[in-house]
Structures are given as C-alpha cells and as structure tokens.
C-alpha cells in the first residue's frame, strides 16, 4: 500500500479526457498553479512541455502506472465516453467499469479530491418533470431509455464512492448542455449543422453552458475549499429550442412527433449522431435544472451569455464548406 501524502509537495492533478476541449481548457487554467498529468483513451495528446500525457485504457493495468509514477492528489474525471460514441456495451464498460477502476486507484493511492463530470441527462426527459430540478430529484433517465444506463450507472457508482470514501472529497457535476468552440458532443454537433430536426408541436425550453464557463467552474473547485457533494451546473437563462436554431442560423426540419415510436424509428434509421434516437425526448420535453446550489456554495455564475454561444455557431456557418 503506498504511503499517505504528507501534503508538503505541490499537489499533482490528473485530468482524464485530455483530447477534449473541456479538459484542455481546464488544464490551461490549472497548469499555472499545479503540476498536471493528462490521460485520454483515444490518444496521447501534446499539451505542453511540462505536462506528461498518456494514452490509457481505464480497463487495462497500465492506468496504475500513472499513479505509481506521479504523486497524484487530485483527479478531474472528464474522460467520460459521450453518448454519441460507440454502442451501449462499449460505453458501459468504459464509463462504469473503467471509472470504478479509476476510483479504486484513487482510494489506493490516497487521492484526496475527485471531481467527476456527469450530465443533466441523468434526470431523464420526462413529460412529467417539474422545472428547476435540484440535485435530490430521482434519476429517471434509465427508465426512459436503455442507452443512457451507463450515464446513470456512472452517477450511482460515483455516489457510492462519495459516501463510502469521504476522504476522496468527491464532487459530482451535472452540467446542462455544454456548447461553444471545439465542443463535439451531441448538442455541439447539432448546433454546427445547417439543418436540424424539430419535433412537430414541441418546442422545449433549454439551457446551455459555455465550455469556457465550465472550465472556469472546475478550476474554481481546486481553488476554493473542497465541499464534497453533487452539483448541477446551469445558468439562470432559458431559451426554446426553435429560437436556438434560428439564433444559430439553422433551418428547422419538421420531424413527426406522434406516435412516439415513429420518431424513434426514423431517428434510428437515419443514424444521426447529432440527434440519436435515445435523446429524442430531450428535444421534446424540457429538462430544466437548478444551478443554485453550485452558485451559493462556490460563488460562481457563468460569465458567458447564450448570445455568445449562439454567435459562435452563427459564425461557424459563414465558413465555406470543405
């Protein structure tokens, strides 16, 4: 068993998902104050001369070498496989089994701060959702679609470690739709399109957080006293889906909304990464979360407006097609 950390050395921060824009922005903010180690399952990313970077599969033994070679005291786990990558079994293995291995190593190597990126998807897009869901709301996503099981299970797993291993000081973040330059998740892909589907008769209000605001929020967690818990992350701003499309210069394509099975079948047939069948309900019913707890605990408010996010996607459309 490795010795406990004395706390005299500067704490090294391990950031997963280093190939993504959110991890890179977080690293850029933290590297001025902390030694950083970056890992990603896709490739070893060139980040900077003083930042060791590894290609690591969380399911393989090589992950422990990172802990052996570096005195890691904080883990920022952003490297969750997005809902647009691979099948549900691949995602389950990577996101749930892989994350459990990571958490076990955190316990073994006396890591004293873990930040994990979950998602607002865990609440599920149900027509019966009240607005401003807080962190105590039951997670219904897996009731509604099997494809989001890994997302909910990752949450459940993280919550087990949050309470079973309080020394990890785990902070679970549930951000709303993340958008902005370089974001390649479902919503980022959709807002980059010139045409996007709209379910006829439905126009749910949505929330968006700028990727740079999210990076600011994560860096703040390391600067402020650690307060373990679960936190929604969303601005106090709401906009209907159709307005989003029009603000981003996207043409709305009417999509049949009834019967619900037809919508899902069409989406499945099209194999559209930006509009997968299991996320159809998120474009039908609002899932509005309350970011008040994070704001009160850490004194953080997103600085970038919805207009700034939409301007980015509008500008993107001006670039010539390649």
């Amino acid at each position: 068993m490795p010795a406990k950390k004395t706390g005299k050395k500067k704490s090294t921060v391990l950031v997963t998902g280093a190939a993504g824009v959110l991890a890179q922005q977080t690293i850029a903010r933290l590297s001025l104050k902390h030694p950083i180690v970056a890992v990603d399952f896709r490739r070893a990313v060139e980040i900077g001369p003083n930042i060791p970077s590894y290609k690591v599969d969380f399911l393989k033994r090589g992950l422990e070498d990172v802990f052996r070679q570096h005195d890691i005291s904080t883990v920022i786990h952003i490297g969750r496989i997005g809902t647009d990558i691979g099948g549900k079994f691949f995602r389950y293995n990577a996101n749930v089994i892989g994350t459990q291995k990571l958490y076990d190593l955190c316990v073994k190597y006396h890591v004293n701060h873990v930040v994990v990126m979950s998602s607002y998807f865990v609440y599920g897009a149900s027509p019966y959702n009240p607005a401003l869901l807080d962190e105590d709301t039951p997670l219904k996503a897996s009731d509604l679609t099997l494809n989001l099981i890994d997302t909910v299970e990752l949450e459940n797993l993280s919550q087990i470690y949050l309470y079973k291993h309080p020394q990890l000081n785990m902070q679970i973040l549930r951000p709303t739709n993340i958008a902005g330059p370089g974001v390649r998740n479902n919503i980022g892909r959709l807002l980059s399109l010139r045409w996007a589907p709209v379910l006829m008769g439905f126009n749910p209000v949505m929330q968006f957080i700028h990727v740079l605001d999210l990076a600011d929020a994560i860096s703040l967690l390391l600067e402020k006293p650690k307060k373990a818990g679960i936190y929604n992350l969303a601005p106090n701003d709401w906009v209907p889906y159709k307005t989003v499309l029009s603000e981003c210069n996207i043409h709305a394509v009417p999509f049949p909304s009834v019967p619900p099975g037809l919508t899902v079948s069409i989406s499945r047939l099209l194999k559209w990464k930006a509009f997968p069948s299991y996320l159809v309900n998120y474009f039908k019913y609002p899932v509005i979360i309350d970011g008040g707890k994070f704001e009160r605990t850490f004194g953080f408010k997103p600085a970038r407006s919805l207009e700034e996010i939409f301007t980015h996607y509008r500008e993107l459309k001006k670039e010539p097609w390649i």
Binding site: A131, G201, L306
Partner: protein, 273 residues
C-alpha cells in the same frame, strides 16, 4: 417579421400593453422566457385572443376581484367543470386584467397536457405549468399567483347531471398553502358547466387514446354566460397537526366555494341569453 410579431401587432391593443406594463414581472432569461417556458410576448398574444371570447362570447361577469392580493404569493382555488379547461382560461384573464392590480396568472394543468403536440407548448408559453407540487412551491416562493383546481379531472370530466356538485378535493393544495404560508382566494365558477355539457364518457376510447375521458358532448363550446365570484382570502397556520386537520381546512375552502357557486347562480343573468 416573425409570426409572433405579426400576431402581436394585429391583436395586442395599447390598452392591453398598458395592463401588462402593470403586471409585476418575475425573473425571465435573456430571450424573455422563464424556467417553465412562459414568455411575456406569448402571454400577451394569448390574452389578446381569449379576451375577445371572455368579453363577447362568454360575457364573463366578475365579483370580488379586489380580494386578489396585488402582490405576494397567493393560491387561487376554484371548482372545475366543462370538459375543456375554459374555467382556467377565464380565471386567468380575470386575474391578468384585474383593474385593482393585474397579476400574471400561473394555472396548474393536468399532467397529460405536455404530451399533446402544440397544446402543451402553447399552455406553457402563456404561463400554465403541469400541476406538480414542486412547480407550485417554486412559483409560490417567487411570490406568484397560482391557480389550482383541486378536483382535477374528477371535476372537469363530470357529466352534466352532476353539474355544480363539487367532487372530491385533493389535499395537495392545502399542504402547499400551509407549507409556503400562502393565502387562499376561493373562486366559484358558474357557467362553464353549460359550455360543454357531457351526457356520457366513452371510457374504452379514452383508454385507447390515453386520455382521462372522452365526453359525448357538443363539438365546440356553447356561448354560456360565465360568472366568476372571488371570495375573501383565507389564511391557515403553517403547522400541520395531522392529516385530519388538513382535511378540515380543505372542507372549509370547499364550503366557501360552494357558497360562492350558489351566489354566482343567483347573480347570473341567464344561462345563454
């Protein structure tokens, strides 16, 4: 120019704009929407359309509008009838155009509405939300004026032979009033029973369609005169001693509404003419 802007230009009068300027406004986002999907522009257009029916088709008479507090949290509790939520629309218009101090009405609607294309979204846009206790508490904490029909579908879907007979009231509204310290303004609605008199409920069809009821009734609402009688605000202590105690409080509200309905029936000039 968008459809909304065109509609607003065509329908919303200066008088209506002035009324809206007086309505206390709760926090909305940078695009004019609140977390429940309500927008000021949508509410203005909705009000402008239905105010015409309110004035000229249903010829609504109101009594006791001064009982609605000008600001602060309040629960408006009414009897429910008429198959369609026309009573909710009429009370909302009365609240929004109250000469003593207009308020933005927030009507709690049945849970199946969000699944109905176009209708669910439209109701959200004009300020209605599904009748979930969390929504209700959040709105009362924001000092809003919330309209609740504690009979739910038991009231709206009842047959014509049960007109003006109050059905069982749920206790949820009383718990919310006590929890948030909100006064209750009781309302007796008269006339909506006659707008869509239902002779029978086709239960098997309702089951197939996933609806609470399918009435055998007229194809469109009849021009019945509507009377809305608003009672004096009732206050209840915050402490819940027992469910029996809550039931007694509910009975007090129900009794008050029964009196207001009786008063409305006496004050009505005629059913249709």
């Amino acid at each position: 120019m968008g459809v909304k802007t065109l509609l607003k230009k065509a329908l919303v009068s200066r008088e209506m704009e002035e009324i809206f300027d007086r309505v206390p406004k709760e926090a909305v986002g940078s695009y004019g929407y609140d977390p429940w999907g309500a927008s000021l522009e949508g509410s203005k257009i909705g009000l402008a359309i239905f105010k015409r029916f309110y004035d000229h088709y249903f010829r609504v008479q109101t009594f006791g509008l001064e009982n609605i507090p000008k600001n602060g949290r309040v629960l408006v509790i009414a009897n429910h009838s008429g198959q369609l939520p026309l009573d909710g629309v009429m009370i909302s218009i009365a609240v929004a155009t109250n000469p003593n101090g207009p308020r933005a009405p927030r009507a709690m609607i049945e849970r199946f509405f969000p699944t109905v294309p176009f209708v669910g979204n439209y109701l959200n846009e004009v300020g209605s939300v599904i009748g979930d206790p969390i929504n209700c508490v959040r709105m009362l904490e924001r000092d809003e004026c919330v309209i609740v029909f504690p009979e739910g579908v038991r009231g709206s879907g009842k047959l014509y032979n049960k007109r003006y007979q109050l059905q069982r009231f749920g206790h949820g509204f009383m718990h919310l009033a006590m929890q948030t310290g909100s006064p209750i303004v009781p309302v007796g609605v008269v006339g909506c029973e006659e707008t869509m008199p239902s002779l029978a409920n086709i239960k098997p069809l309702a089951k197939i369609l996933g609806l609470p009821y399918v009435p055998v009734t007229v194809p469109f609402p009849l021009p019945a005169r509507v009377v809305l009688s608003f009672g004096e605000p009732l206050s209840f202590p915050r402490e819940v001693i027992s469910e029996e105690h809550v039931a007694l409080n509910v009975e007090k509200v129900k009794e008050k509404i029964r009196d207001l309905i009786q008063k409305g029936l006496e004050q009505r000039k005629g059913r249709f003419f």
